[in-house]
Symmetry: C2
Subunit: 222 residues, 2 copies
């Protein structure tokens, strides 16, 4: 069994990508929390590892890596248990990379933008900008229709279950808690795909941990 040391917090969306990947590969993660309410992510010690002042960071002896999708790929590449989450056939891998590129460049800016307005802005004491919510909502319609079509004859986004399904997970999970959840629920192939993703043991293990860690943080115990 492989063990990875990740500086991060399970309630954080980007940390979730790395944990979901590790749990799919039956790897253990030593999660090292950072007090982001105290601004520890902007202190010199952390900036030396992650110059943008964000989480997660993977740290193993003298090797330091950031960007959640890169950490997920590294865990997948180096883990000795479980089976790979990136197809090895060149054409299948290319389709995986196509969707990985779309997730980062086309979907994530709007899914993250919508969730930020509804959840993170008020969390930090700000006010949701309803015009921005509407912009992101409208910008998601066409790409989600295309994703829905793509899932008509596939179990997962790139065919088999891969990292790209994991990359989408954290923000779609949050979107489903919001008034805009119809973006997902009204598209039957995406809704069916989500049922498959959220039924996976690694998903359940992750979100059980997220709930526990969030409760502990809220009660000030962690």
């Amino acid at each position: 069994m492989s063990a990875y040391r990740v500086i991060g917090l399970s309630p954080s969306t980007c940390t979730q990508r790395t944990l979901f990947t590790a749990y799919e590969r039956q790897a253990t993660v030593d999660l090292v929390p950072l007090n982001i309410m105290a601004g520890d992510q902007k202190k010199p010690e952390h900036l030396a590892k992650q110059p943008f002042g964000k989480i997660p960071v993977l740290e193993m002896q003298d090797f330091v890596l950031y960007e959640s999708r890169a950490i997920a790929r590294f865990i997948n590449d180096t883990c000795s248990s479980g089976s790979t989450l990136i197809p090895s056939d060149p054409k299948q891998r290319a389709i995986f990379e196509q969707w990985a590129s779309l997730e980062a460049g086309t979907y994530n800016p709007h899914i993250e933008g919508l969730v930020a307005q509804r959840v993170f802005v008020p969390m930090r004491g700000g006010q949701t900008d309803e015009n921005k919510v509407k912009e992101h909502y409208n910008a998601l319609k066409e790409p989600l229709d295309i994703l829905n079509n793509n899932l008509a004859n596939k179990e997962y986004i790139a065919g088999p279950f891969t990292l790209v399904d994991i990359f989408f997970t954290p923000y779609i999970n949050m979107l489903l808690q919001l008034p805009e959840k119809d973006l997902i629920e009204s598209r039957p192939n995406i809704a069916a795909w989500w049922k498959r993703v959220s039924s996976r043991p690694a998903f359940k293990k992750l979100y059980k941990q997220v709930e526990e860690d969030r409760a502990a943080m809220m009660s000030g115990q962690k």
Copy 2:
């Protein structure tokens, strides 16, 4: 020698990523132009290959692939000539993936956004939004400082020359034609890196072709 069929236009930034990769690998590309001024990218025949109505698209027999970064990875994975542009050592590859993720998620939205305001908006008859230019300009300062630091002791972004240097190329090449070129020129390690990138034979071959194709398109011959 491998030959790839790409539907695209060399003056288009995203097509340039696929051509630069092919030329680095000494592969030939059969570039199939699309009349985007006539809106051919939104016609059913093209949408069946690229549902977002964009270029480039790689097409080989029954295999169809889009997203320029995914096409570049596919060419790199399947080309029989030249040497790989993705490191094979897991830690080196992880650093490559970290920068590939940053390029797509952190840099490209602002570099593309700035170039769009200065070049593409006026090209389509619109007016540059100077507030948006300023927003993108300011948003690029910190990430470019971090890129400049990263290049202090490295020849290329991920160490050896890789696809991530290619991913950055088209928009930085355009940025250097704009009043905002000081974003690059004032950062000495990025400026030195750019000299190395733009001295490569594949870069020179590509941008000679871009100039020729652009001149032919402007004169209505192509």
